[in-house]
C-alpha cells in the first residue's frame, strides 16, 4: 500500500476556467489587457477555487482528524526506537529533535505536495480539454498555479487550528521558535518548496504530451519521493553514500530542507547557499515545465472534439 500522496486517485479535477464566466461582468466585458487585468483575472480564479474548496466541510474535518493518527503512531514508533537503542542521539538527532523533525516535515509537505496536479494535466491532454487554454486568454500554467495557491491557502487556513493545537501539545519537543532571521529563511524555504513541488509535478504532467498515460509513471515518482524527500526519516540517518546523494537531489527541498532550517541544523553560509540552490531548482523546473509545454503543444492534436 503506497502512501496517500502517491495515489493520483485523490485528484481533484481542476474546474473549468470558464467557471469564472458565470460572472455576468466577465461575459459581456471586452477583453481587457495589461498587468492589472491579469492580476484581477487570476485573483478571480483564486476566489472561485476557495469557494469550491469550502463546500464539503464535514468531509474535510474528518480527513483532518484522521490525518493525526499517523503522527501519533510515528511519535510512538520513534520513542520505541530510541528506547531500544538505549541512547539519546542517532546521527546527530536527539529524540526530541527527531519528533520535531517529523512534525515539521508535515508542514513542508503541506506546501510542497501537489495531489492530482500531474494527473490533471495529463488528463487534459488525453481528453483534449486542454484546448480551452488555447482559445481563452488564460495561460494554463498560470491558471493551475493560482488554482493551487488557492487550495493551499484554504488548506493551510483550515488546518491552522488543528495544527496549531498539535504543535502546542507537542511544544515540549521544540526549543521554542527560532530567531526572526531563521524564521524568515524558514518561510522562504517553504514558499520555494511549494514552487519546486508545483513545477516539478507540472513538468511530470507535461510528459503526458508524449505518453498519453502518465499515472503509472507518477505513482513511481511519488512513491519514491516519499522516501527520498526525507518525509519518513532525516536523510542524515541513511548510510553514506546514500545520504550524500539524496542531499544533492532537489527532492530534499520538499520535506527535509525546510525542517532542518527550522531546527537550526543548517545555518550561515550553508543556509544561504542552499536557499539559492532551492531557488535555482524552482527556476530550473519552471523553465523545464515551460519548455515541455511549448514542445508539447506542437505535438498536441486536441483529441476528443
Amino acid at each position: 500500500m503506497t502512501p496517500p500522496d502517491a495515489p493520483a486517485a485523490t485528484a481533484d479535477p481542476a474546474p473549468m476556467p470558464d467557471a469564472t464566466v458565470t460572472d455576468p461582468d466577465a461575459v459581456s466585458a471586452p477583453p481587457r489587457r495589461g498587468p492589472a487585468a491579469a492580476v484581477r483575472k487570476y485573483a478571480r480564479i483564486l476566489r472561485v477555487s476557495l469557494v469550491e474548496r469550502m463546500t464539503y466541510r464535514a468531509d474535510f474535518l474528518i480527513g483532518t482528524v484522521l490525518r493525526f493518527l499517523p503522527l501519533i503512531t510515528t511519535i510512538l514508533l520513534w520513542r520505541a526506537i530510541y528506547e531500544g537503542a538505549g541512547r539519546d542521539n542517532l546521527a546527530g538527532y536527539k529524540y526530541r529533535e527527531m519528533i520535531a523533525y517529523l512534525l515539521l516535515t508535515n508542514i513542508s509537505r503541506m506546501f510542497s505536495s501537489m495531489p492530482g496536479l500531474a494527473a490533471g494535466i495529463a488528463r487534459e491532454v488525453r481528453e483534449g480539454t486542454l484546448k480551452r487554454y488555447l482559445i481563452q486568454p488564460v495561460d494554463m500554467i498560470g491558471y493551475l498555479l493560482s488554482y493551487r495557491v488557492a487550495h493551499k491557502l484554504a488548506y493551510i487556513t483550515m488546518s491552522f487550528l488543528p495544527y496549531g493545537l498539535l504543535f502546542y501539545i507537542c511544544r515540549g519537543y521544540f526549543d521554542g521558535f527560532p530567531g526572526p532571521a531563521t524564521m524568515l529563511a524558514y518561510l522562504a524555504s517553504l514558499v520555494l518548496a511549494f514552487l519546486v513541488g508545483f513545477y516539478f509535478e507540472a513538468a511530470v504532467g507535461m510528459v503526458g504530451f508524449w505518453f498519453l498515460e502518465v499515472t503509472s509513471l507518477l505513482y513511481i515518482v511519488m512513491t519514491l519521493n516519499f522516501f527520498i524527500s526525507g518525509h519518513m526519516l532525516p536523510l542524515d540517518l541513511l548510510p553514506q553514500p546514500w545520504a550524500g546523494i539524496l542531499k544533492a537531489l532537489p527532492f530534499q527541498y520538499m520535506a527535509y530542507f525546510p525542517a532542518v532550517v527550522f531546527l537550526r541544523k543548517v545555518t550561515g553560509w550553508e543556509l544561504a547557499s542552499h536557499l539559492l540552490l532551492e531557488l535555482a531548482w524552482a527556476v530550473g523546473f519552471m523553465l523545464l515545465c515551460r519548455a515541455l509545454y511549448r514542445m508539447g503543444l506542437r505535438r498536441y492534436s486536441a483529441y476528443g472534439g
Partner: protein
C-alpha cells in the same frame, strides 16, 4: 444455506476471472502497478534496515521478528486491497451519482455485490511478496516448525482480514451521509497507520489507553499483531480467542451498520 454459499462462491469465481481477463488486457499497466508495490516494499525494508542499523530492538521486537511483522502486515494489507479496497473506494462515487440504484436492483446480497465486484489483481503479488519477506525473516530467526503456531497464524490471519474488512465497510458506509467522502483510499491509509506498528509501542499513560481502545473497542491493533505474535513470539491462546471473537462481532456490527446506511440512501440523482 449450503446451496446459496456455493452460488456466491461460484459468482465470486466468475467475477475474479472476469477482472483477471480485463487486467491482463492491459499488461503494461499491471506491471507498473506491481513495480510500484515492489518499490514501496523496498522503501519499507530500507527504512527498517536503517533503523535496525542503530538499535537491536524496537518495542522488544528483534530485527527478524520485526521483519516478519512487516511481511505479515504487507501480505494482509495486500489481501484486503486485492479483494475490497477498490470496491469500497467506488462506493462513495456510486452514492454521489445515484448509480447505486442499479446495484440495489440486482437479486443478490447488496453487501456481497458492493464488496466483491472487482478483484484488484495488481495488488495480489503483495500477498506473495509479504510471504517471501516472512519466509526470509523466519530463516534469519532460525525458526523451528511448530504446527500449533502455523495453525494459529492462519486462523488469526483470516480473523485479522475480517476485522480490517469490517472496519473498511464502516468507513465506506459513512459516505452515504457525507455524500462526498474524501477518497477512501486516503482515509484507509490513515486509519491503517494504527495497524502498521507493533502494539508494544503504545506505552505510557495516554498511549496505553489509546492502545486499549484500538485493541478492545475498535480492534484494528489485533489485525497484523496477533498473527505475527503467535508465529514468532508468544502463542497466547487468549489473544487468539480475542481476535476470533472480535472478528465475528465486528463483522456482524459492520453488516448491520451497512444496512442501516443503505436505508438512509436517498438515490439523489435519479
Amino acid at each position: 444455506m449450503l446451496a446459496s454459499l456455493s452460488k456466491y462462491l461460484r459468482m465470486f469465481g466468475h467475477l475474479a476471472r472476469y477482472t483477471l481477463t480485463r487486467e491482463l488486457s492491459m499488461r503494461g499497466n499491471f506491471l507498473v502497478k506491481v513495480s510500484v508495490e515492489v518499490i514501496w516494499l523496498g522503501i519499507m525494508v530500507a527504512f527498517y534496515r536503517t533503523v535496525f542499523a542503530r538499535t537491536s530492538y524496537v518495542a522488544s521486537w528483534s530485527e527478524s521478528e520485526y521483519f516478519f511483522f512487516v511481511g505479515c502486515y504487507f501480505a494482509l494489507n495486500g489481501l484486503i486491497e486485492t479483494l475490497f479496497l477498490e470496491n469500497c473506494n467506488e462506493f462513495a462515487e456510486l452514492v454521489r451519482t445515484g448509480d447505486l440504484d442499479f446495484l440495489l436492483l440486482r437479486p443478490i446480497d447488496e453487501q456481497f455485490l458492493i464488496s466483491f465486484r472487482r478483484v484488484d489483481w495488481g495488488t495480489f503479488p503483495n500477498i506473495l511478496m509479504g510471504a517471501v519477506l516472512m519466509g526470509i525473516a523466519l530463516v534469519q530467526k532460525g525458526w523451528t516448525f511448530d504446527p500449533a503456531r502455523v495453525a494459529a497464524f492462519f486462523v488469526t490471519f483470516a480473523a485479522g482480514t475480517v476485522i480490517a474488512y469490517s472496519c473498511m465497510l464502516v468507513l465506506t458506509s459513512l459516505s452515504v451521509w457525507l455524500v462526498r467522502n474524501q477518497s477512501l483510499m486516503e482515509m484507509w491509509w490513515l486509519f491503517t497507520s494504527l495497524a502498521r506498528y507493533p502494539r508494544e509501542i503504545y506505552k505510557g499513560p495516554w498511549a496505553a489507553a489509546l492502545g486499549d481502545v484500538f485493541t478492545f473497542l475498535i480492534p484494528i491493533l489485533l489485525v497484523s499483531n496477533v498473527p505475527a505474535n503467535v508465529m514468532v513470539r508468544v502463542l497466547d491462546p487468549a489473544m487468539v480467542a480475542l481476535t476470533v471473537v472480535s472478528s465475528i462481532l465486528l463483522l456482524w456490527f459492520s453488516r448491520a451498520f451497512f444496512q442501516h446506511a443503505l436505508r438512509s440512501y436517498r438515490s439523489a440523482s435519479s
